[in-house]
């Protein structure tokens, strides 16, 4: 009997410890899991809301079938002076700038800092400034610089081309969107540059040193060693950047306020924000559902394709 008990006791103790540890872990993660599930419920609620209408005073939903989707399609009516095609075109342009201009620029800047060019430390600190500066502040400065009575007009005049400055300033059709795109390029490389740089700093010096000893040139080190090793991070960051294009709209809102669409500076993300802000939850959700059904496969294919060409994550 005593032999039986002595065999059982340590097992009971272990089990008790294991149970205590399991309970502790579940206690720690309970709230995060609850909020995670809740966030998914909120996301799925968008699909439900797309088929309902909501009034501002009364949140009780009324089933409206496909009406909200019809409403979204009506926004694309080309007979309207301001139609949603302009916003789609602008969002595609934002995608182009993000992936084809800002991403390569941030990658090159990151590599130059990684290879310790002269003054790389102050350059790194200064180039990160757009990330720590409020978009409101950057937009305000940029707008006052580009506006009719701004500093840029003065520069035009000093250069003797004052008459070339847009008569009504930059923030009207057809210049407003160009100005916003210039702003995007100017401030858009900073965040990804820091991610790429952090990833490059994780590349072991041994790889680079070994390549140098073998006589590799700098382009070879960049294209054959650094870029392949950081490619998983590059693919992830580009996927995030591509997904964010669909929701892009803050800059247009900050620059143009309610005039964005009428001055040719709308974007699909801004349309959705404006619909939500004006309590048009049904059409906003219908538009969101449509864009998710288009955007999610595009983003996932982009990611899958990127992963196919990137090296293993373990290095």
């Amino acid at each position: 009997m005593s032999l039986f008990m002595s065999k059982k006791r340590p097992l009971t103790g272990m089990e008790r410890i294991r149970r205590r540890r399991t309970l502790f872990a579940m206690l720690l993660i309970a709230w995060p899991v609850f909020m995670f599930v809740f966030a998914q419920v909120v996301n799925m609620n968008m699909f439900y809301m797309a088929f309902h209408s909501y009034s501002r005073v009364d949140l009780d939903p009324q089933f409206v079938g496909w009406d909200n989707f019809e409403g979204v399609f009506k926004m694309f009516d080309q007979a309207k002076v301001v139609n949603e095609w302009q916003a789609v075109k602008n969002s595609v342009e934002v995608g182009f700038v993000t992936l084809c201009i800002n991403a390569p620029v941030s990658l090159l800047f990151a590599y130059l800092i990684f290879s310790k060019v002269p003054g790389y430390k102050p350059l790194r600190a200064l180039l990160y400034l757009p990330c720590v500066t409020s978009a409101v502040v950057l937009v305000l400065i940029f707008r006052n610089f580009f506006d009719y009575d701004g500093a840029l007009h003065m520069i035009y005049q000093v250069l003797g081309v004052g008459d070339k400055f847009p008569a009504n300033g930059w923030f009207v059709q057809p210049y407003a969107w160009t100005a916003i795109q210039i702003f995007n390029i100017w401030t858009g490389f900073s965040q990804n540059m820091m991610f790429f740089l952090s990833s490059m700093n994780r590349v072991s010096d041994d790889f680079v040193e070994a390549a140098k000893l073998d006589g590799a040139t700098e382009p070879q080190i960049f294209f054959k060693i650094v870029l392949p090793l950081i490619s998983p991070t590059v693919v992830t960051m580009l996927t995030i950047a591509l997904a964010s294009v669909f929701g892009w709209g803050q800059q247009s809102l900050l620059f143009m306020d309610s005039m964005a669409a009428s001055e040719g500076a709308g974007a699909i993300g801004l349309t959705m924000l404006n619909l939500a802000k004006s309590y048009n939850f049904g059409p906003a959700s219908a538009y969101g559902v449509m864009l998710t059904l288009i955007g999610a496969p595009i983003t996932l294919c982009f990611r899958a394709l990127g992963r196919k060409f990137s090296v293993s994550e373990e290095y």
């Binding site: 720690l28 995060p32 180039l127 757009p130 959700s285 969101g288």
Partner: protein
């Protein structure tokens, strides 16, 4: 045969290196110009914040004829968002920052620690679900969040901001889990032998070791919260922060005109705290290689 191949390789590398060198230094020049442009606009802003309206209109590139510190007093009267004055806007920004910091100090660590150091039922499902949720983009869920917050009485109030910001399962928890997995367990085992409980081991041994990384995330969170426009604009219209106040000032100027230097003084007020924090923590933020682990 071998000599010919070597020559070929050498020639191609030399040609490649010449164009690479040119391209590299051209990019370097662009990089310097980009960096200087940020210095320039902040100096331009600071100088013009100290000018009179007429002085600014005459030439925005010269030093002020008279250094007009009055603009910083005038901005106190002129910055207003839906009957919230400058100090109320600053107060709301501080509350917003405190909420963000509170959430950043607790939930990602809790989730990360549980995932890293324990086995429990459903762990694999949770990990997979988090990854799947991160890679499938849901576009335009803002209206759903607004509706849900309204339905639960959590729209346009601080409690809603606290609760809706308290997720924790996501990129943050993954980074903390990686950190906790890499920590040696010798101290914890010694503590267990000495009779320490799970909370004690977590709070006295593991949590303090995660503080350096947490500090970086908190600094970045504080900066992001101070700068955040869309969050308060969409979800807290009755509790506007300083970012909304500044944007309102700019919008009023565009529609009705006014003295730009006063607006610039307001911009400097918004900018200075961030620049001070950034100057103090720049090395820590830059040295954070955790970002590079995003894959």
């Amino acid at each position: 045969m071998r000599t010919i191949r070597k020559d070929r390789i050498k020639t191609s590398v030399t040609v490649g290196s010449v164009s690479w060198e040119f391209f590299k230094w051209l990019t370097y020049a662009v990089m310097i110009l980009a960096a200087l442009s940020f210095v320039f606009i902040f100096l331009w802003l600071a100088i013009n914040a100290l000018k009179t309206g007429s002085d600014y209109a005459a030439n925005s590139f010269t030093l002020p004829a008279t250094w007009d510190w009055q603009n910083f007093k005038l901005v106190i009267d002129q910055m207003n968002y839906r009957n919230h004055n400058l100090f109320q806007l600053l107060g709301n920004s501080l509350i917003y920052i405190l909420i963000v910091t509170f959430n950043a100090m607790i939930w990602p660590q809790f989730a990360g620690y549980a995932l890293a150091r324990f086995e429990f039922p459903g762990k694999k499902i949770i990990e997979s679900a988090v990854y799947v949720a991160m890679i499938i983009p849901i576009i335009g869920a803002t209206s759903s969040v607004m509706q849900m917050r309204m339905a639960l009485g959590l729209y346009d109030n601080w409690l809603g901001t606290l609760i809706f910001g308290s997720g924790g399962l996501g990129m943050g928890s993954i980074l903390y889990a990686t950190l906790y997995r890499g920590m040696p367990s010798a101290f914890a085992e010694a503590a267990y032998i000495d009779g320490a409980g799970e909370w004690r081991v977590f709070l006295n041994i593991y949590y303090p070791q995660s503080v350096p990384m947490m500090l970086i995330f908190i600094v970045q969170g504080v900066i992001a919260a101070w700068n955040d426009y869309m969050g308060p604009y969409m979800m807290l219209p009755s509790h506007p922060t300083i970012a909304l106040g500044l944007q309102e000032m700019q919008a009023r100027f565009v529609h009705f005109g006014g003295d730009q230097p006063i607006m610039f003084a307001g911009t400097v007020i918004v900018l200075i705290p961030v620049l001070v924090i950034y100057t103090i923590f720049a090395d820590k933020i830059m040295g954070n290689t955790a970002f590079g682990s995003l894959k």
